[in-house]
């Protein structure tokens, strides 16, 4: 394309400046909020900025953070996974059962595959049967937790073999194994999203599924794969938690799916799909964790905690919607 057409673009090309503020807030709000809270807590409490406390926060939140990392892929691809809490419980229960009857390591491995299977089931239902992901995973969540309850007859499954507690209670290089696992998962998924063709497809499918399909992207496979990854992450998180307590519990992880989604959204990943990043969800989880930690350290009435978390989520989603609307107007 040559010549004669260079003048018209300029006035249309520049994004409108006056929306810069809201977009910056949307893009980096989580960083600002996290840093502000981190600094505030460092000043307000001597106990906060200590290696022990910080590692403790990470260790306690590693399972949720892993779930949020997997869920981020689902949400960027335009989906929603409400079954992660149930997969979390089911994989832990199966691992504990098998640890007692066969072998702890075998149990953990099978638990992981159970999560993968659950995730694939979600993916097939959403991508190929075309059930709305919200409803589909709400339903499969009931099914998965139902299976967990049936397997255990609603009793806790204690594991006596201490090999089972490797990933929940042991440390490597002075840091809990759970934190290492979380770090590795976050790193791998970051690379997948940011560096691979599959990652590009995830963004494209969430951003404009029809355009992706007409570009030769196998949209259904990409969608299903994000659910499979999310299921596997939920299982890994469930195994860490079961390992920590040396117990499989069919009622574990209740409501985790909502906390994870809240963290993803607070981090700035758009619920509309097509945009987002792993580091955002990690910061989102840590922000929610810091709020809890801050309430503890500062002896604030914990009754306020839920209120504060709810408001923060509302603000995050509100900013996202607002920024999106203003950009569409521009």
């Amino acid at each position: 394309m040559s010549g004669g057409t260079t003048t018209v673009e300029t006035e249309l090309a520049a994004p409108r400046r006056r929306w810069l503020g809201i977009n910056v807030l949307r893009d980096y709000g989580i960083v600002i909020a996290f840093m502000a809270l981190f600094i505030t807590l460092s000043i307000a409490s001597d106990a906060f900025l200590t290696t022990t406390n910080l590692l403790n926060i990470l260790n306690q939140n590693a399972p949720l953070a892993i779930i949020a990392c997997g869920g981020t892929l689902v949400i960027i691809a335009g989906g929603f996974d409400l079954s992660v809490g149930a997969i979390f419980a089911l994989s832990g229960v199966i691992a504990a059962k098998l640890a007692n009857s066969v072998d702890p390591v075998f149990g953990l491995a099978i638990g992981l595959f159970v999560g993968l299977g659950c995730g694939i089931a979600n993916g097939l239902i959403v991508a190929y049967v075309r059930v709305n992901p919200f409803i589909a995973t709400l339903a499969t969540g009931y099914v998965f937790r139902g299976i967990a309850t049936l397997i255990t007859s609603a009793f806790l499954v204690s594991v006596t073999n201490t090999d089972f507690t490797i990933i929940g209670q042991y440390q490597f290089a002075g840091v809990d194994i759970a934190i290492w696992i979380f770090a590795i998962v976050a790193l791998i998924l970051t690379v997948v999203l940011a560096r691979t063709a599959f990652g590009r497809y995830i963004y494209a499918v969430g951003g404009n599924a029809e355009a992706a399909r007409l570009s030769g992207v196998r949209v259904n496979i990409v969608r299903a794969a994000t659910f499979a990854i999310s299921g596997m992450c939920a299982a890994l998180a469930g195994l860490i938690a079961a390992s920590k307590d040396a117990t499989g519990n069919a009622q574990a992880g209740l409501g985790f799916e909502l906390t994870a989604i809240a963290a993803i959204v607070v981090g700035g990943t758009s619920i509309a799909g097509g945009e987002g990043a792993i580091w955002r969800s990690v910061l989102g989880i840590l922000l929610i964790a810091l709020i809890g930690n801050g309430f503890n350290l500062l002896n604030i009435d914990p009754f306020y905690q839920s209120l504060v978390q709810g408001l923060i989520i509302l603000i995050a989603v509100g900013v996202d919607v607002w920024a999106r609307a203003s950009r569409d107007r521009a």
């Binding site: 040559s2 249309l12 090309a13 994004p15 494209a204 951003g207 029809e210 030769g216």
Partner: protein
């Protein structure tokens, strides 16, 4: 003299800086049926929408029954008893006929909606119109013609004095059209003014008292239908002056040039029937036809974007194409009609869009994107297509329409296709950018690709194609080589106003 139902003086409307209507002066008699006709994009629907309040004009004055008006919503227009019946039915499918008819104007007794009152009123109105709908039936279960009756009833119970009907016959069969015309005649006898927007000229001549012809957003003329033939209306719609210029086309391919695309018996139930043609290397094949004639559906079927039957062969390959991915791998590129809905991922960067269809070639052994290669490929495309700004990380949303269209071209050029399907490639780009797009298309043909170009702008098809296919009702009704493809020949074939030769 009686006050006209509608009087427009120097009315103009611009969308995003592009003029849709310019200096419209028109007076419509009360109690008449007035038709608005024109090519796709001539402005006839926009004019209807301004009168019915769906769109607000930004120049000139609109007088409704002698009062100056600038409606901000159809609701405001309704207060002046102006109603609209849209091309797409706008009813609530899961509610009854009664509820739909009285939605928003429920008859009340002691402050509460009264079903007996409304049922009685509905019966009264129905007998006046000769309708016989059951008030309790769900609207979603009715035929399109009956749904339209519900829309008309809606307008009547609101005591509309002026009804704008936008392509009301588009989805109706011949018997149903006759029924609608009877209704329109009844309304006219009762003094209601009807504005009838249509591109079916035979119908216009049958039902309307007068017809206004629009071309490129301007009013060409208003004629009593008793004094004008459909063929003459077509001439008025086209005009005689073609100012647009086109780049030099490469010579038409020789008869033994390689067939890059062979389509045989392509069909899709109710939409496409038995479409067959060949496209040769270096050829630009134009596809003309009215909106709804199946042009977009045809290229989507070729690209395997929709289910279809029939053979699509690329460059003699025996590949059976089942998905768009197969089509991409076979060497077909599809520039879709709607850039934003099915072309670009607008919140992603120029580079991400440019490489999306070509990622399989840019993939490293471990699944990663070879970023340096991707970046250099993006830069090359930005240079060769002159995409501005030149920043590959720029978000596509912030580019102008013309530059977005170039990104879309670039995405497909990256896949090195043999066949390039372009559906309305110049829609929504300004005149200067149009010429650049013509040059790209001509360049593709020169490089030996087969190019198929759909356009609703007839001069574009005639100026850019070696050969023109005309579609009507999902069929190819004419196959005209450049010498024979005149405006008259194409338009008559598209409208079906003359027997044409099917090649």
């Amino acid at each position: 003299m009686q006050t006209p139902a509608v009087a427009l003086h120097q009315v103009g409307k611009r969308y995003a800086g592009v003029a849709a209507l310019t200096e419209i002066n028109l007076s419509i008699d009360a109690g008449s049926v007035h038709a608005l006709v024109g090519e796709n994009g001539a402005g006839k629907s926009t004019l209807g929408k301004i009168i019915s309040g769906a769109v607000r004009h930004d120049e000139g004055t609109l007088m409704i029954a002698g009062h100056e008006r600038a409606y901000r919503s159809p609701h405001e227009a309704l207060r002046d008893r102006v109603a609209a019946i849209q091309q797409e039915i706008t009813l609530v499918p899961k509610r009854s006929v009664l509820e739909n008819v009285f939605l928003g104007v429920e008859l009340k007794s002691r402050g509460l909606p009264s079903v007996p009152l409304m049922r009685a009123r509905l019966e009264q109105v129905q007998s006046g119109m000769g309708f016989n709908l059951r008030s309790g039936d769900l609207v979603g279960h009715l035929s399109v013609a009956d749904q339209q009756k519900v829309e008309i009833l809606r307008a009547v119970v609101r005591e509309a004095r002026l009804i704008v009907m936008d392509e009301p016959t588009a989805a109706l069969g011949p018997d149903e059209v006759a029924g609608l015309f009877e209704t329109i005649n009844r309304l006219r006898r009762s003094g209601t003014t009807i504005i009838f927007v249509s591109h079916r000229l035979d119908e216009v001549v049958t039902i309307a008292d007068r017809v206004s012809v629009l071309r490129n957003g301007r009013l060409v003329g208003t004629y009593p239908t008793a004094e004008i033939s459909p063929a003459r209306i077509v001439e008025q719609m086209l005009g005689r002056s073609l100012e647009e210029t086109f780049p030099d086309l490469p010579p038409a391919p020789a008869h033994d040039a390689e067939v890059v695309l062979n389509v045989e018996g392509l069909s899709r139930a109710g939409i496409l029937s038995d479409i067959s043609f060949e496209l040769r290397a270096g050829e630009i094949l134009g596809v003309a036809g009215l909106v709804g004639s199946g042009r977009t559906e045809m290229v989507r079927a070729i690209f395997s974007a929709d289910h279809h039957t029939g053979v699509v062969q690329v460059a003699g390959g025996r590949d059976r194409l089942r998905t768009p991915r197969d089509a991409v791998e076979a060497g077909i590129a599809l520039l879709p009609e709607s850039r934003k809905d099915s072309g670009l991922v607008v919140q992603q960067s120029v580079e991400e869009n440019l490489t999306l269809a070509n990622l399989p070639r840019l993939r490293a052994w471990w699944g990663g994107v070879r970023r340096r290669l991707a970046r250099s490929e993006a830069r090359e495309l930005i240079e060769s297509l002159n995409i501005r700004p030149r920043n590959p990380r720029r978000i596509v949303n912030t580019l102008s329409g013309g530059n977005q269209q170039r990104v879309l071209f670039g995405k497909w050029l990256a896949t090195r296709p043999r066949v390039f399907l372009a559906d309305e490639p110049t829609r929504g780009v300004d005149v200067g950018a149009k010429f650049a797009i013509y040059e790209v298309l001509a360049g593709l043909a020169r490089d030996g690709l087969g190019v198929l170009m759909i356009s609703s702008e007839l001069p574009e098809v005639l100026g850019m194609a070696h050969r023109v296919l005309v579609m009507r009702n999902g069929r190819i009704v004419a196959n005209l080589p450049r010498g024979e493809a005149t405006e008259d020949a194409v338009m008559h074939a598209a409208f079906g106003t003359k027997e044409e030769v099917v090649a």
